[in-house]
């Protein structure tokens, strides 16, 4: 018999974070909802057999996202050179929300795994070891992926500001 009360409590506590992480991973409001539904359904079906539900849920989320992005290869295509963000009517003091929107748009241009590393490290606040365990990759790979992704984000934002 499934511990439904336990699962409810887990979702009430962590659901918002997982939903937002899903939206960051997919770059889309509705696809994020579908993604978190998929992940939490897997958690629910295995509830009672999971020792650490939150790491399991994160892993389910990321794995489902990477699987879906492989199937949608014809859709978003991460580019080597991120598109420059040109603001022809740039205000002298770019508002904080504009800057955040810009970063999020640039985040969407990263490859699925790079985006997953960034989201786990800088949104979920996981350590490099925890991120590596979640993604099933060596810690060194997490470090290099993270560095590369951050460098690309910095280059893209800097290029846009300097225009």
């Amino acid at each position: 018999m499934r511990d439904e009360a336990g699962f409810r409590s887990f979702v009430e506590t962590n659901g918002a974070t997982l939903l937002h992480a899903a939206r960051l991973l997919t770059g889309d409001h509705h696809r994020g909802e579908d993604l978190v539904q998929t992940a939490l359904t897997r958690v629910y079906l295995k509830w009672g057999r999971i020792d650490a539900p939150l790491p399991y849920a994160r892993r389910a989320l990321v794995n489902a996202h990477i699987d879906q992005s492989r199937r949608r290869w014809w859709g978003e295509r991460p580019t080597e050179t991120l598109p420059e963000v040109v603001d022809t009517e740039q205000d002298a003091a770019t508002t904080a929300s504009d800057s955040r929107d810009e970063l999020r748009r640039i985040l969407n241009g990263l490859a699925a795994k790079e985006r997953a590393v960034v989201v786990l490290r800088y949104y979920c606040d996981l350590s490099e070891q925890e991120t590596a365990a979640t993604l099933g990759m060596p810690v060194g790979t997490v470090k290099s992926t993270c560095s590369r992704a951050l460098a690309r984000l910095r280059v893209a934002v800097t290029s846009g500001v300097d225009q």
Binding site: E12, H20, T41, S99, L103, L107, R154
Partner: protein
């Protein structure tokens, strides 16, 4: 100025706040599990029916000279209620007016199967009477649903599952129905012309309506089984029919057999309703 890690964190956190609707999530997960179980039971039931029909048909053929003739001169009478409850061992009783006792034939895995003495088999006892190796029921041999010319179709209902997965047994008076003549021909034709390839249409992850397993046993002019098809009515979309031939997709029963198929309670016959997203906006 290049963004710092704190800028990145702030950017990522912007917009968070919505939470998941846990009630809808649980409902969707349970519905998904129930749908998978129904499909497995339906498939297993087909295996049982096919195997029992093969054994029973041979047994009845060898004893056909000893059976009492049907009082209706060859047309099949209504077999009567075959199930008193989901999962019970209730079996089809002999049709009214036919003399002689129901023939007992050996079933599979030690379970008994009773056949009506009119020469046509009744509905299998229940879905749980099926045996293992359900994979054989998916059918790859040939593409036809029925292997011989069908003159009548026995429809067997096994109750209804609601969205929570609770099983409602069929009412005693509406567990089976026989179609003859033109109605049977239309049903068979609709099955045979249903696509053998799944469409690319995406079905919702969540089952949206109560579903009901349905068996359709095709009988030839001699009352012998010419094939069996099973399906799950009431799924959100893409009704799939399994038989000894290739599976059929997106099957729509003919309009004029809808009344016969009302052996399935009306709530379970609705299809293609889309359930709202389980995530609160």
């Amino acid at each position: 100025m290049s963004p710092s890690e704190s800028d990145l964190r702030a950017a990522l956190r912007d917009g968070e706040g919505d939470n998941v609707n846990v009630d809808r999530l649980i409902l969707g997960a349970e519905a998904d599990v129930a749908r998978r179980k129904s499909r497995l039971l339906t498939t297993a039931a087909v295996v049982g029916v096919l195997a029992c029909a093969g054994v029973g048909g041979g047994f009845l053929a060898s004893n056909s000279g000893n059976d009492a003739k049907s009082a209706s001169g060859g047309s099949m009478a209504r077999p009567g209620a075959s199930n008193n409850g989901y999962g019970s061992d209730a079996i089809a009783r002999p049709a009214g007016g036919a003399s002689g006792n129901a023939a007992e034939v050996p079933g599979l895995a030690g379970r008994r199967v009773f056949a009506a003495s009119t020469g046509a088999p009744g509905c299998p006892p229940s879905a749980t009477e099926a045996t293992s190796d359900a994979a054989k029921a998916t059918g790859t041999a040939g593409t036809r649903v029925f292997t011989a010319r069908v003159t009548s179709v026995l429809l067997c209902s096994y109750g209804r599952e609601d969205l929570t997965g609770s099983l409602q047994p069929p009412q005693a008076s509406s567990t089976s129905r026989v179609l003859h003549g033109a109605a049977a021909s239309r049903l068979v034709a609709s099955l045979e012309r249903a696509p053998t390839r799944a469409s690319s249409r995406m079905c919702p992850m969540v089952r949206t309506a109560a579903s009901a397993p349905l068996l359709m046993i095709g009988l030839d002019a001699n009352g012998r089984v010419a094939g069996t098809a099973s399906t799950l009515l009431g799924t959100a979309c893409n009704v799939v029919v399994f038989s000894a031939g290739a599976p059929r997709y997106d099957w729509n029963p003919p309009a004029d057999v809808g009344a016969a198929l009302s052996i399935v309670p009306p709530a379970a016959s609705a299809t293609n309703r889309v359930h709202p997203s389980p995530i609160s906006s």
